[in-house]
Subunit: 353 residues, 2 copies
DNA sequence: TCAAGTATTGCAATCGATTGCGCAAATGAG
DNA sequence: CTCATTTGCGCAATCGATTGCAATACTTGA
């Protein structure tokens, strides 16, 4: 592979001159600069960033750690963060920590070895696993920002959605519509005072006589079981709050297979406002946490730390407000009678006719 | 940041010894090796990969270029490729070329500057845009493999799905069910003899008296218009072959809004077998091109070239066979009469009752 | 014509690791 | 006890670029 010395030789100048010419330094005469640039172009020369990075002690690269890319929540986040980072002149190095998160520490270690200039770490539902590794990293001068809630005192800047308010909005939506028996479908709460469940319950309590039932579920099968359980109750809920749109999607599928119509018999609300929700049938009412804001806040916060590493103020916390998107999957409860449980005949899919 | 020299000094040995000890070289006595490793661990030392990469002339990194991450087709591909690469001891550097692909060349250039050991380039619907940049890269000794079809003579190894056969399977499925008026929804063909449309038409022609109509569409609005157009025809098609599952999803949404039931009035088939299809209502019949195979073939081919760069056999072409997944969105055409075009009243969503 | 000032360019150190080669110490054989 | 081996370790070169400083060439004004 061709290197700077080759270009310098061809142009009959020193490496220093070649380097400066390619960097458009005004200290090089215009003729030589153009000559060198032309030679470099013709030779197909591209600077060796690994050598350059070593010399300038910076990689102009940001590390991004996310749990998994297959969860439909993350791709857009990645895209947005990538856009912001590239817009600011940084490359992105993506690492998948895995949903089990055993490798969150490995990712951080890899990023440190690569000498990335900064790190954005998106926590999974388990919260921050590699707290120690992260603290050590910032101690070594690599700024980081957390995206998502972590329990305890966060060691670094962090931006996260106000899930509690989101849950509150959902609860009010339910009670405003007249629902009095509601179910919560999803993982156990993990976001402390900002958890969706916290706000949801707060919202429910503002209306007397509302009962709630929690059905933990993460996988398709668990959702299936959970829904069956709910439908089998004496007094099934008239509304379901799914912790995430993907869970809501599974729930809708199960309900449909059980011939329960949405929202007539059961209202369903999701969380995250994924595009997926608009493909569902009916389109999903959900809570939106502006991902654009999340992404740009995270990147900007990180870049801020990068610009002035001296600025050692305590970790900031940026909270993104939620917004309820009411679509088709919620309505007033049809009646107080229990849901018919006999399987419908014929096609198991929906139709308008 | 702490470096090798610091460790060496603390241990009272030379840098060479420290380096070899950390690399578990047998040429270092066990006592010293463990001493040095302990010191490094306690000091929180991590090797500087950028220095190391420069010295060993390899980054152990593969570049992956995809058009966009928000298209639900790509996340799983990325995940699978990442798994394969990491399993083989390589890191992954992800670049998004953008759907417009203006930046495909930029991505390649960036990867070259970073001195990645190899590149996997996933083409967009436009095919290979940066052909020149790619050829130059391989000329400079960076092996690459293309994922997806390109027109003309491919300059490098390539793996792609046999879309034509996929299209053929769909066509046969349609004609077997008794459909005689079918529509194709999607972009214009771009994969030459392997295009979905080619095989689809071949399949249709094996049954006499089948008419086809092509409706180009990429965006939501275009789908909307296309569907409206189809429904407005004297004799609307009884089956739609959408070029991708995402298009099929949009089409289903539009049909639903127009109160056309699937599959009774119109059958719909997608392509790609995304998870999305199983959330649709009804669940989508679609064509699967084993993404696992795609990913592992691509990575293995690349690694093969990496191991024996001397092996300069002409570019290989690996073709992945498709498989039809019949689900709920297809059935026999109900009748030969045209679809009722009066909007249905009441809720615009589906229900089983 | 000479001094002062400016515009260009090159020398050489540097970033942090790896590794071929040589030297010294330890071991073993005769 | 001496010489040949083996074992353990360090010297110094190297990867490819950047950059402070010194050096040279070229202007300009007096």
């Amino acid at each position: 592979m061709i290197k700077l010395a080759d270009i310098a030789e061809q142009a009959g100048v020193s490496e220093s001159t070649a380097s400066r010419a390619l960097a458009n330094s005004p200290r090089i005469s215009a003729v030589k600069r153009e000559l060198i640039q032309r030679i470099a172009l013709e030779a197909g020369y591209t600077v060796n960033q690994v050598a350059r990075n070593l010399r300038v002690q910076s990689t102009k690269t940001l590390g991004l750690v996310i749990p998994e890319i297959t969860n439909p929540f993350f791709p857009r986040l990645v895209q947005l963060i990538a856009d912001s980072a590239i817009g600011a002149g940084y490359r992105l190095q993506l690492h998948l920590s895995g949903v089990s998160q055993e490798s969150e520490g490995d990712c951080l270690a890899a990023l440190r070895e690569q000498r990335v200039d900064g790190v954005i770490l998106v926590t999974s539902e388990n919260g921050l696993v590699a707290r120690e590794a992260l603290s050590q990293m910032v101690a070594f001068g690599v700024p980081a920002v957390l995206l998502g809630w972590v329990s305890g005192e966060p060691p670094v800047d962090m931006v996260f959605g106000n899930d509690a308010t989101g849950g509150y909005l959902v609860a009010k939506h339910f009670t405003d519509l007249g629902h009095r028996r509601v179910a919560i479908l999803g993982a156990v709460p993990h976001r402390g005072p900002f958890d969706r469940l916290v706000g949801f319950r707060k919202g429910l309590m503002e209306t007397p006589g509302v009962t709630e039932i929690v059905v933990p579920a993460r996988t398709n099968e668990e959702v299936r079981l959970g829904i069956d359980h709910l439908l089998g109750l004496d007094k099934p809920p008239t509304a379901i709050f799914a912790y995430q749109d993907s869970l809501a999607a599974m729930a809708c599928r199960c309900l449909r297979q059980s011939c329960v119509s949405i929202p007539e018999e059961i209202s369903v609300v999701g969380f995250d406002n994924l595009e997926l929700g608009t493909y569902l049938c009916p389109q999903l009412t959900t809570v939106d946490l502006s991902m654009e804001q999340m992404a740009s806040c995270a990147v900007e916060t990180l870049l801020g730390r990068l610009k002035t590493p001296s600025f050692r103020g305590g970790p900031n916390q940026i909270v993104i407000p939620p917004q309820l998107f009411v679509r088709e999957s919620t309505s007033r409860p049809r009646s107080t009678q229990s849901i018919k449980k006999t399987p419908c005949e014929g096609a198991s899919h929906c139709a308008c006719d």
